[in-house]
């Protein structure tokens, strides 16, 4: 009996213990944290006005780094294979060693890829960046990628290096689209990162469905059927009648609304605000989902979303930039619409952008020359950039080259021989990223999550909105509403 008593009490202690271990992570070194709070308060006051776009100070001169010795390991942090394949396919002298390592000359390239869902990538990156000072040279992050949704979080911090510190002169970057530099310009006027792509979005339509329902798959005719949201909804009804869904999920159209807002998600005093145009997305989507014109309320990237990549999915259109078509729509899978060249592109009801990847140099890198060279090759070198367009159907960040290609006889295989670059080039010029905040990824994700219940009929709009506010303030305790 005594033994059992002992065993039971031990079991009880262990369960209680394991609970606390699971619940309360011990915060490491509070003293250090306190210090960093003090040191960062000055930066957070300067970045408190996300709506005001800082001007790039073009007088900053490039630092001469030719004397610096290169480290042996180049650590790259990113969230998917896209950048890796760009480097593998287009960077001269890059050799693949295995799935997570490569070689440039005698420098080993170490890939650290964490998916971006639920901010996993950022959390991993942040933890490593904070330890950057104490890390060995070969362990330090040298290069990392950021997306438009959270670029601002890194721009105004000392964790990113100005590109001029890498020996890149700003005049070298003059062919890039201006918005790609505006995003990465810190409040004191330095440029903190560069991008090889431009991400203007278009409406990508299923040619088969267009022929069947609209009688033509010509971009101009399709555009007439989706030229504004009212026409778009009318077309959706026709699609429904012929057994097609307008979009695969309610979230497909989200970016076209969220990019055309008049206020950013988070105001200067860190208040969360829902723009009228985002409310319009909710209303339109609810109406169309209830009418059976939208297939599912599930998230993008989910299974229901993927079904439309194939003819059996019966989905009329997707909204996306160049990378979506090439990278996500199953172009290399036999039988997919992209593989058969069955998509077409047209402007759609409203212009928008989605994503975009910027290359940043991490402070403390010991491979400045290599990082600078990667930036130059992928974002400045015209020949390489044109190759990227031809090989990967991407839209690159080089205005003269893109306009040249738009006018050329370049055709895109996934678009069934159409040249969509003119559309993209026109869109890229109009992109303004002045309504973004550092919290956009969380806001976008939580808003879509909360609204799913409304679309599914599980709650009314106000309840769903409360849920969004609650979720976003739990996710980012610094915000209020």
């Amino acid at each position: 009996m005594k033994k059992r008593l002992l065993a039971l009490s031990m079991a009880a202690i262990m369960t209680v213990g394991s609970l606390t271990a699971c619940g309360g992570e011990t915060p490491a070194a509070p003293a250090e944290n306190q210090e960093s709070t003090e040191s960062t308060t000055s930066t957070s006051t300067t970045e408190a006005e996300p709506t005001k776009a800082p001007e790039l100070d073009t007088t900053v001169e490039a630092t001469d780094i030719s004397e610096e010795v290169e480290g042996k390991v180049l650590n790259i942090y990113c969230w998917n294979e896209e950048f890796k394949s760009r480097l593998t396919d287009h960077y001269p002298g890059y050799e693949v060693v295995d799935a997570t390592t490569g070689k440039i000359g005698d420098i080993t390239v170490q890939w650290n890829i964490t998916p971006s869902d639920d901010n996993a990538y950022q959390n991993n990156l942040d933890d490593t960046l904070k330890k950057q000072d104490g890390a060995a040279d070969d362990e330090k992050i040298d290069l990392f990628l950021v997306e438009a949704d959270y670029a601002l979080k890194y721009v105004d911090t000392p964790y990113t290096l100005p590109v001029t510190d890498l020996g890149i002169d700003l005049s070298e970057l003059s062919n890039q689209y201006k918005y790609t530099q505006d995003v990465m310009t810190s409040s004191d006027g330095t440029l903190k990162g560069v991008s090889w792509q431009g991400c203007p979005g278009v409406l990508i339509y299923n040619r088969e469905a267009a022929k069947e329902v609209l009688g033509s798959d010509d971009p101009a005719d399709v555009q007439a059927a989706v030229k504004d949201w009212d026409t778009y909804k009318a077309t959706a009804a026709d699609m429904k009648a012929k057994g097609y869904y307008m979009t695969a999920t309610v979230n497909d159209t989200y970016r076209t609304f969220s990019n055309n807002v008049s206020v950013p998600w988070v105001s200067a005093d860190k208040k969360v605000q829902v723009d009228d145009n985002i409310k319009k997305w909710v209303d339109d989507s609810k109406e169309m989902y209830d009418a059976g014109q939208i297939k599912s309320t599930e998230n993008l990237w989910g299974e229901a979303w993927n079904t439309g990549f194939y003819p059996d999915g019966k989905v009329f259109c997707y909204f996306g930039p160049a990378w979506l078509i090439n990278f996500c729509m199953a172009a290399d899978v036999e039988g997919s619409i992209a593989n058969l060249g069955g998509w077409g592109a047209t402007e759609g009801p409203q212009g928008f952008f989605w994503g975009g990847t910027w290359i940043c140099a991490a402070a403390g890198t010991d491979n400045k020359a290599t990082v600078a060279d990667i930036m130059r090759k992928l974002t400045v070198d015209k020949d390489i950039m044109v190759d990227i367009v031809k090989a990967d159907d991407d839209f690159v960040n080089n205005q003269p080259a893109m306009e040249e290609l738009a006018a050329s006889d370049y055709t895109s295989a996934v678009f069934g021989g159409q040249n969509p670059l003119g559309m993209f080039a026109a869109g890229a010029k109009n992109i303004a990223l002045d309504k973004i905040s550092a919290y956009d990824q969380g806001c976008n994700e939580e808003f879509q999550n909360a609204m799913k219940d409304y679309f599914d009929g599980n709650s009314d709009y106000d309840t769903a909105l409360n849920k969004f506010y609650d979720a976003i303030t739990t996710k980012y305790p610094a915000l209020s509403y």
Partner: protein, 311 residues
């Protein structure tokens, strides 16, 4: 006399020496985190982007925020507790019934079940699968374009795909079903051990006196099994309070629909998203006390049976 006491002391010494590894591990990995969790639960302490805010003391505001009755649609501790308990009860009732039934069958000598070893292994198997993998499997099986919907549609039971993840009942039901499936084997083994420990003479005596199988079960097996049964209930309850991986993955971290499948630990996990040690700590402390009380209940009941001496 002197000699004897000396030898006792030296044995004690070895006892303490052997305890050192446990005590050190316990202090470093359990006691210190426990104390700092309680400590930080009285602070505002989180991260904002790459900045760390706090720690600055804020009294019991974290606790108030956890319990404050908010607007409809918002999440608080009581909603989390309610969800957790509903899903636990939904899963535990079938689990304990199944376990009692199996344990009774396995331990009944008159049934002479063949292949007992095989079945004992098989019912325990689901427990060996990682909960997250199990949950992922169900997520795929029950998705709108998954095989379950396909089968139901081809059998003509439903016309349109049924979105299992968009309805409170089906989500909670699936979570409960998975928990039941994963844990009934474990419970069966525990109860079986308890039943095997009962003196066969009691069953024989009952048989001689003409008791039916039902009477034997309710009048002999169950009362003697009571301490084990309480242990099973309470440990399952403590495990249930910590329910996390199954609903987290099944609902893709969202606890949807409408937070009706958000358990306490999922709620805790959300607070830890921005490393909010203040709110996370407060929630952990409350959970700690609930669990401690439940553990004391186990302790008390198992202690009671001692009073009557050995059976």
């Amino acid at each position: 006399m002197k000699k004897k006491s000396k030898s006792v002391v030296s044995y004690n010494k070895w006892g303490y020496i052997f305890l050192i590894p446990f005590v050190v591990v316990f202090i470093v990995f359990q006691l210190i985190p426990l104390i700092s969790t309680v400590y930080y639960s009285f602070f505002t302490y989180y991260e904002d982007g790459l900045d760390v805010i706090g720690p600055k003391p804020n009294g019991i505001n974290n606790y108030i925020a956890l319990f404050s009755a908010k607007k409809e649609g918002e999440m608080n501790f009581m909603i989390g507790l309610k969800n957790t308990m509903i899903m636990w009860i939904l899963g535990f009732i079938p689990q304990i019934i199944l376990s009692l039934l199996f344990a009774a069958w396995f331990s009944d000598p008159s049934l002479r079940l063949k292949g007992q070893r095989f079945f004992k292994t098989v019912i325990y198997l689901p427990n060996l699968i990682m909960a997250s993998a199990f949950s992922m499997l169900f997520f795929t099986l029950f998705s709108t374009v998954g095989p379950v919907n396909d089968i139901l549609k081809s059998l003509g039971i439903i016309k349109e795909s049924y979105d299992f993840m968009a309805h409170t009942g089906s989500v909670r039901g699936l979570v409960a079903f998975m928990n039941c499936l994963m844990w009934f084997g474990n419970t069966t083994i525990l109860l079986l051990a308890g039943m095997m420990g009962i003196d066969p003479a009691l069953f024989e005596a009952a048989e001689v006196d003409g008791a039916t199988a039902r009477q034997v079960f309710w009048r002999i097996t169950m009362p003697i099994l009571k301490p084990i049964l309480i242990y099973v209930v309470i440990t399952s309850l403590i495990g249930g309070l910590q329910m996390f991986d199954v609903p987290q993955i099944l609902t893709n971290t969202k606890g949807s629909p409408n937070n009706t499948a958000t358990t306490l630990i999922m709620f805790l996990n959300r607070h830890l998203y921005s490393k909010n040690y203040g709110m996370g700590g407060a929630l952990s402390v409350i959970l700690f006390f609930i669990t401690a009380i439940l553990s004391l209940v186990v302790f008390k009941f198992s202690g009671n049976s001692d009073k009557y001496g050995k059976k």
